[in-house]
């Protein structure tokens, strides 16, 4: 996947670049509207990460250009402004999603995959890994042929793991993913633990491999290379 990161803060842009590069994405970074227009004039991108507050203007203006000339590209707005106006205008002008800073990189990745699935895979919204397959339309999880009886949160959790395979997912990131921005996620760590525990149990009971490992002190990891026995 080819990704254009339009973000004026170099450190943040590098974080995103490094994280996504490890997924094998081809990432390009630019920090101003001017360079962004240049790049958009020359290349096509699968996904454009657009920061709204740029030094030479508001990124929302760029949406019109993107929508006119890059119909295939997915646009994800990343903004520190959690202003409702920006969010609504952004989505109205054709952005696919809106993410507020500070976000977890795993969350960003999950969002990118989600839009990509929604727009590019035309209906076949299946996420697969080995024997696990998730249908993101029907929220149905299968281990081989066995339908996994998961709750909605467990499904979300498993999807989050699958999208971010071989990444250490912190409990904060999981809590924020499952319960959103406005709940006090610090207090939800117990629930994260419970959810992960239940999910692992359900997968094992259905005969699946337990790919989810606990990472000491930090969180969890979906390990695709070596199954935890």
């Amino acid at each position: 996947m080819k990704v254009l990161i339009i973000e004026d803060n170099q450190e943040l842009a590098r974080n995103i670049h490094d994280f996504l590069a490890r997924e094998g994405y081809v990432c390009e970074v630019c920090g101003t509207l001017e360079t962004a227009k240049e790049k958009l004039g020359l290349f096509q991108y699968d996904c454009i990460l657009l920061d709204i507050g740029l030094p030479d203007g508001n990124g929302i203006g760029l949406l019109n250009t993107i929508r006119a000339e890059h119909k295939q590209s997915n646009v994800l707005i990343i903004s520190a402004k959690n202003a409702l106006d920006d969010k609504i205008i952004g989505l109205e002008k054709g952005a696919d999603d809106y993410l507020t800073k500070p976000f977890h990189l795993a969350e960003l990745h999950a969002r990118i995959r989600a839009i990509y699935r929604r727009k590019n895979l035309e209906g076949a919204s299946i996420v697969e890994f080995n024997e696990i397959s998730l249908n993101t339309d029907t929220f149905e999880a299968r281990i081989g042929d066995v339908i996994l009886d998961t709750t909605r949160k467990e499904f979300d959790l498993l999807l989050y793991f699958l999208v971010n395979k071989n990444r250490v997912l912190s409990r904060q990131s999981i809590a924020a993913h499952l319960w959103g921005d406005y709940t006090d996620s610090l207090a939800n760590f117990d629930f994260v633990y419970q959810h992960v525990k239940n999910l692992r149990k359900k997968i094992s009971n259905a005969g699946g491999t337990d790919y989810i490992n606990t990472v000491y002190g930090l969180g969890y990891k979906f390990n695709s290379h070596e199954a935890h026995q």
Partner: protein
Amino acid sequence: MKLTNKFTLWYFAIMLVVLLTGGAIVYYEIQWKISRVEVVRHERLNDIIAQQIRSGGDYKDHPTRKRVSISVIPADSVPKGGYSYYTRGSNWNPEFQSYEFKLVVTSFYFINGRHYRVSSYSFIPSFYQLLPGVVDSFQWILLLLLILVVISGQLIPKYILAPFKRTLRVIQSFDLKQKEPVRLPATRTSEFRELNEFLKKMTEKAREDYRSLKEFTENASHELQTPTAIIRGKLDLLMESEIRDEQAILIAEIQNALERLSRIHSSLTLLTKLENYEYEAKTPVCISRTTRETLASFEELIQMKSLSLRTDIEENVYLPLHPSLADLLLTNLVSNAIRHNSPPAGEEEGLIRVVLSREGMVIANTGREPRVPTVELFERFKKGNPGSDSIGIGLAIVRQISDLNDFDILYEFAGGWHMVAISFHSRLPASKLLQNLLLPLQSRTESGWPKANH
């Protein structure tokens, strides 16, 4: 009372005073004028009679002598400097066989060395006979004026106050958030012009302040969130490198502190936005549905903590509330009820009760007694249990949302139950609501419901 009605009443009062004094003046004026005319006529008659005496002829049966008496008087009876005077009063009129008002004019003459006193009289209309006429005509005048004042009192202010009313309408619909300055109607009345000028300045200032505050909030948010995002990203990347256990613990601790920082920051920004009235309800939201959805999204947590949930949700309760705020309100209340839940003494399961009606809602949960008075729990960074992991801002947000929408909110702890009551109508106090909503339920179900102890 409306301004126009006030004006009309005042006009009417002034009119009444003017008409009453006017009536009195007219009455006395007419009375005086009639006497005066008569007196002049009689004086002339007396002069004619004096002329007749002087001429020495016999005028005994002359028509002038009909109501005249002439007498010769001694010199000392003539009043000093007196030439003529008149008296009046009610007297018997033999011609009409009734008491009438009699005017007598007496004049003194010195003719041929003798002093004469000539008196002539006539009966004139009594003043008491005039009075009803005066009163009558003034009644008509009063009636006419009254009708005119009432009609003009309704019509003229409508015309004169029209610019004022337009200004009022513009100001009533003024919204701090509106993008354009207020447009006030032009007027030729200088007071209204002044008012408009003032209002224009005020609203402009308010809009300016609001804008800069909003800008500041957003900038603060932007400037702080970006470094936080960088740190968070770096930690995410760091976690993936080869790290030892001690380092992992350090990273986890940084993560926790960072999480807290970011939560506090976003909550405070949210509170500021709430204070700035940035969330305006455009269409009523179905709070019944929001409640059910919120409860559904917490269903798993409720099960995990083995809580028993009982609800009594009235259908189709609509509230003029921004959907995000409705969501936030319920999320905070329900997650609080779950998080701070502990089973009552001697029981295994913690309980949650949610009651929603058109009047308001009550969310109650079993739990430990709070260490601080319940009222203080609405303050920012106040926690019932200092050891807990939460930031202690959820209830502050709940209260802010309630205040913003004129809801009355109450937090009570009684009999092992934490109860938060929100009344949707400002005239119904939350304490009353708590009683109303819990009482019928107590009778319906024998146990398991908190008791309202009021």
